[in-house]
Symmetry: C2
Subunit: 205 residues, 2 copies
DNA sequence: ACAGTTGTTCTAGCGGCGCTAGCGAATGGC
DNA sequence: GCCATTCGCTAGCGCCGCTAGAACAACTGT
């Protein structure tokens, strides 16, 4: 406990921190790529260490364990999902305001499925693999709140059931997505199911 | 390849087959109980063998491997789920025919969530754990077809979109269920979400 | 320039996993 | 009573997540 003694060269410490951050991201990216190409069951600490050309214990110095790595990948996924949903929502909303036919929700829903279909392993890390990431909780990471916020933003702010509608839409899309990804409903007709779901949710007949 | 030679005593063979079937079920039940009390990650072939008081290889003589055991538990789950959904549906339909307010779907949806909440590990084996059980496939087990059939039966046979409606309702309920079970949406308000979903699906405003 | 201290990475190994080869003991047929 | 077959067991393979402690490198003050 030498307190603030031995601070060392500031720039040296900065460089080390930078290198460490780079390696941190390298591990996340390697785990994600390995999961996306061979599935999460192929992501072992040994194989991952070999990929990043460091020994196993290095992984444990960055993340608490394998769960921590999956968690980090999932968090990255939530940030990207939020960006994708926002892009879809804004691109629709700038072509005129919501007109009650669910144009916004349709665009967000399609973007949601598209995201999951393009990054199935990433989606699994976010929603399927066992994790301690909670949503409606005080210590929920901002990335998760933002993603949910995109669903909320697809509904009329004046709607008293706005939050509940966002929850139900999101969960329903999630159900369609997981069943589609695991091959339990045919993906060929997936967009039609999403169309139907959105139509029903926004009250169209 | 001694064809039908060495048949042995018929009754003896029958007793053996009976005992083997009992042990088969014993393994399934033990795996299910262990999963329900300690989670699927605690279900290992070693622990399971200890529970049923046989050695590990016995498990492999009954099921191809751990996946086969999970699959057997899942199949049992589909049979029970079908029974639960049918009970709910018939108990509603015998109190008068469908009137367009989604009484049937509401009962089926509630029974669905109730089933998952009561047997979370069983539900996971059926829908979350990696498995090769396909749904819309030629060799889909009857138990799975029957479960889906209960959703179909909740809609008007005259509706041309009947099958699509069943798919979407089922997937949406599945989404609410998984997010509820993993703590991603609060379970305290889960029935309200299901109410809202059903209302939206059947076209109520 | 150098000795000491601090921090970081690696080698090696623990217990447990899914799974299987091959042995030994019952069991039923001649 | 001997043989053939069936059946469950012991033992072990290669892998897993994870960690203790050695080996090394880097930075410090003199």
């Amino acid at each position: 406990m030498s307190s603030a003694a031995s601070l060392g060269s500031m720039s040296t410490a900065a460089r080390r921190a930078r290198e460490r951050a780079q390696r941190h991201q390298l591990i996340i990216t390697a785990a994600r790529e390995l999961a996306e190409t061979e599935g999460w069951e192929a992501v072992t600490t040994r194989r991952l260490a070999e990929r990043v050309e460091y020994s196993q214990p290095v992984l444990y110095s960055h993340f608490g364990g394998k769960d921590g790595i999956v968690r980090a990948v999932a968090l990255e996924g939530f940030t990207e999902l939020t960006a994708a949903l926002r892009r879809a929502r804004e691109s629709v909303q700038e072509h005129g305001p919501e007109d009650g036919t669910g144009r916004t929700l349709r665009a967000v829903g399609m973007a949601y499925w598209d995201f999951a279909a393009r990054h199935p392993a990433l989606y699994q890390a976010m929603f399927v693999l066992p994790t301690d990431l909670k949503f409606a909780h005080e210590e929920t990471p901002q990335a998760l709140r933002d993603a949910f916020g995109e669903f909320v933003a697809a509904f009329d702010p004046a709607d008293p059931e706005r939050l509940a509608m966002a929850e139900v839409s999101w969960a329903s899309l999630h159900g369609l997505t997981t069943l589609g990804m695991s091959g339990r409903v045919p993906t060929a007709t997936q967009t039609e199911r999403i169309e139907l779901l959105v139509t029903l949710l926004v009250g169209g007949g």
